[in-house]
C-alpha cells in the first residue's frame, strides 16, 4: 500500500459540486487564486479524477449527484482523501431533510476533513486542506 505521505507536498484537488448554492464553490475558487497563494502548499486543481489526490466536496448531495460522487471517488487512485466544505456537505445544512437531498457527503464517501461555514472563508478552506496534509506525517495509509 502506497504511503499517503507522497501527496503531502503536491496535493491535487478535485472539486465537485453536489448540488450547492455556489457560495462554497466560489470561495473554493477564490482559494485557488494568487491572492491566497495556494501553490505555496503545492495545491492546485487536477485535470481529471485520475490525477486527483484530494476531493473537495461542496453541496448537500442531491440524490442524482450522489451517484456521480461515488463514481468520481472510485475513479481516484489511492491515496485519496475527501474534504467536505461547508455546512451542506457536512450535514445537508439548511437543506437537510429535503426529499431530494442526501444531507452530507459522508453518506456516500468517507470524509477525512470537515470545513464548517456557510460558506467558509477561502483561508479556512486552505487551512482545512493543509491540516489534512499535516496529519499525513504520521504515515497514515488509507
Amino acid at each position: 500500500m502506497v504511503s499517503a505521505k507522497i501527496i503531502k507536498y503536491s496535493p491535487w484537488l478535485l472539486h465537485f459540486n453536489t448540488g450547492a448554492c455556489n457560495g462554497c464553490d466560489i470561495e473554493v475558487l477564490a482559494a485557488l487564486t494568487p491572492y491566497y497563494d495556494p501553490e505555496r502548499f503545492g495545491v492546485r486543481l487536477a485535470p481529471n479524477p485520475r490525477h486527483a489526490d484530494v476531493m473537495v466536496v461542496t453541496g448537500a448531495v442531491t440524490k442524482k449527484a450522489g451517484e456521480r460522487l461515488k463514481r468520481l471517488y472510485d475513479q481516484m487512485p489511492q491515496p485519496k482523501f475527501v474534504v467536505a466544505v461547508g455546512a451542506c456537505a457536512i450535514s445537508g445544512g439548511i437543506f437537510s431533510g429535503s426529499y431530494s437531498v442526501l444531507s452530507g457527503a459522508d453518506k456516500v464517501v468517507p470524509v477525512s476533513m470537515y470545513v464548517p461555514g456557510c460558506p467558509p472563508r477561502p483561508e479556512a478552506i486552505l487551512y482545512g486542506i493543509v491540516k489534512l496534509l499535516s496529519k499525513l506525517d504520521g504515515g497514515r495509509d488509507e
Binding site: T62, K63, K64, G97, S98, Y99, S100
Partner: protein
C-alpha cells in the same frame, strides 16, 4: 392605453384585485387558455412567460396554475389563473405558441402532476429524483410528506 389590458377586458374575464402595482390578475378557464394566449400575442408580441406557478389547494380540491406574463413595452405583468381539479389536472399546452413556456410546463408537470396536453416533451425526472418520480409522487402536492 394598454392594448393587452383592453384585449383581456374585452374577453369578459373576471379580474381579481392585486395589492401590487403593475400586476393584473385574471381568471381563465383551461379550455380558453390557448385562445387568450394566442390573442395576447396577436395584440402584442413583446411579451414572455416569466413563470408558470402551480399551487395545490388540497382542501378545496383544485390545483391553481398561475401563468405570469411580462409585457415588455407596456411594463406590466398579466397573471392568468387557471384552476383544474386535483384528481385529473389537465391544461392544454401553450409552448407551441410561446416556446419559452416549455421549461415551466415541464416543471409544473414534474412537481405537481399537471398534465399539459399536447406537450410531447413531458417526462418525470426533469427535476425530481428518480426514486420519488418512480413512485408516481409529486413533491409539491400537499399530501406529499417531506
Amino acid at each position: 392605453m394598454s392594448k393587452v389590458l383592453d384585449f383581456l377586458r374585452s374577453l369578459g374575464l373576471t379580474q381579481l384585485e392585486s395589492k401590487q402595482p403593475r400586476r393584473y390578475v385574471f381568471e381563465v378557464s383551461a379550455d380558453r387558455l390557448r385562445e387568450v394566449i394566442a390573442g395576447l400575442i396577436r395584440v402584442n408580441e413583446n411579451l414572455y412567460v416569466s413563470a408558470i406557478s402551480g399551487v395545490d389547494y388540497v382542501s378545496e380540491g383544485f390545483i391553481e396554475v398561475n401563468y405570469c406574463l411580462w409585457v415588455v413595452d407596456e411594463k406590466l405583468m398579466v397573471i392568468l389563473k387557471v384552476r383544474v381539479p386535483r384528481e385529473s389536472p389537465k391544461i392544454p399546452t401553450i409552448y407551441d405558441l410561446i416556446p419559452g413556456a416549455l421549461n415551466s410546463e415541464l416543471e409544473v408537470y414534474d412537481l405537481l402532476g399537471v398534465v399539459l396536453e399536447g406537450n410531447d416533451r413531458l417526462r418525470r425526472g426533469f427535476l425530481v429524483p428518480s426514486e420519488v418520480a418512480s413512485q408516481g409522487l409529486f413533491p409539491l402536492r400537499k399530501d406529499f410528506k417531506v
